[in-house]
Subunit: 268 residues, 2 copies
């Protein structure tokens, strides 16, 4: 594979660093995948590969070399980088010589279709990328249909979302609504039964009816779910807090609720 060598000052290298540092002005839905594990998901999932950076000296397996050929084929642009440049661009110590700039699909709410038993998670104003990533990992595991973001505070393409989701942010479809009202209208149009996760004035999470289409809503780490969700009059479900703390980590509570819904839907 003959590729032009580029250095740290090249625009492609600059873009990698801008994304890794979550700077502003990054093209929409654009993320960086490093190493074999993440790039295997990029290849499997069919996301658009904008740029591929290859450092053959840092590839320690035949698999890396095979994937490099495939990524170079798929990429709009492919370049070679030195080991020194790679070390400055990658966050992890051993990225197998593979760094790509790729783009998440633009999933369109209007074209999204659901089965009769669909399961959706809504995160309203969630702030911490690691929590979002952990949730995406659970969503993949329990076969949730999609993530809906309202009052978005963290990018789906944040490097920590990709890392903590173990690459599942590439696979789990995510829909971003500018207005809570639009998300509510869309859920209603699709005949979802919506439950707000809240420990106050709520029904024990084991009791509700999880048949049909279910949407679970969780809120921000500090402030919970925003007012418009409550104003819509949806039921509240709560995980009992039996100790001295008044809440669970949000990725834990959402995971407990997601698996409860999944278990009930599947008759476990």
């Amino acid at each position: 594979m003959e590729l032009q060598q580029i250095g740290l000052q090249h625009p492609a290298a600059n873009l990698v660093r801008d994304i890794q540092h979550n700077r502003t002005g990054i093209p929409r839905r654009t993320f960086v995948a490093e190493g074999l594990f993440e790039n295997n998901i990029v290849l499997e999932s069919g996301v658009a590969v904008e740029t591929f950076l290859w450092c053959p000296e840092a590839a320690y397996s035949d698999e890396s070399r095979t994937r490099a050929e495939q990524l170079a084929d798929r990429a709009k642009r492919a370049y070679r980088v030195s080991e020194k440049t790679l070390a400055r661009l990658a966050e992890r110590p051993n990225p197998d010589g593979l760094v790509t700039i790729a783009r998440l699909p633009d999933w369109d709410p209007a074209e999204f279709t659901f089965g009769t038993d669909a399961l959706v998670l809504v995160t309203d104003a969630l702030e911490i990328p690691g929590n979002l990533g952990t949730l995406l990992r659970t969503m993949d595991a329990c076969a949730a249909d999609c993530l809906v973001l309202t009052n978005r505070r963290t990018r789906m393409t944040h490097p920590k979302v990709l890392r903590s989701s173990q690459g599942m942010s590439i696979k789990v479809p995510s829909l971003d609504f500018d207005e809570v009202g639009d998300a509510i209208a869309w859920l209603r149009r699709n005949e979802f039964r919506v439950y707000l996760a809240d420990t106050d004035d709520s029904v024990n999470y084991r009791k509700p009816d999880y048949r049909g289409r279910t949407a679970l809503v969780v809120g921000s780490e500090r402030f919970g779910i925003s007012r418009p969700w409550y104003d819509a009059g949806f039921a509240r479900v709560g995980i009992p807090m039996l100790g001295s703390a008044d809440s669970l980590n949000v990725s834990v509570s959402a995971s407990v609720l997601l698996y409860e819904a999944r278990a009930r839907k599947n008759g476990w």
Copy 2:
């Protein structure tokens, strides 16, 4: 309150920094609590307070001043620090003028008693302090009796454990066994039904009998549960993985299992 003022070179200040940086040579079970929230837990829980550092200029509420009096009373040693020193010692930006060095109780397995319906979590070789902390927060919330550590890789007193547990590492009793065999013998002596969390060759986690005393075992993020636990012949319970990833975050999977056991014990 008249306290001797100390600076960054004082042994008490050095110890705070050693603990914050998780250095070696820290006295057993010794941790640092910063700010009102954590120090309220220190006061409520009755742990031993070794040293109290007070910066009245950084206290923004009457509550901080009240707690400072109580902490100074409880502490073996109390000193005053400047705002500049406080800023160098505390990890969080606004610690309300309060920093203490305190010590977790030495819970003794031999003296630990359980109800007929006890719930225990065992973490075997868990590596990431944030995962341990998140788990402790869930353990408080679901009223688990205690945490058992085997093949311990991270300190209960690591600052990240305290932060991510929201102070629950102070409240949830934890027992540390040097040998897995000793933990197994102790669980058997106390008539626990032990389940290993594993996705391979396991029973769906909704199926087992969670009556009586239940111990759930989770393993390290990379390698799972160590061999001696399997050799003991305990049953395996698994959370079905329906997507492309082969595991959940360990604090998520343990939380799903803990709440399943709690729900079944409590008849939810």
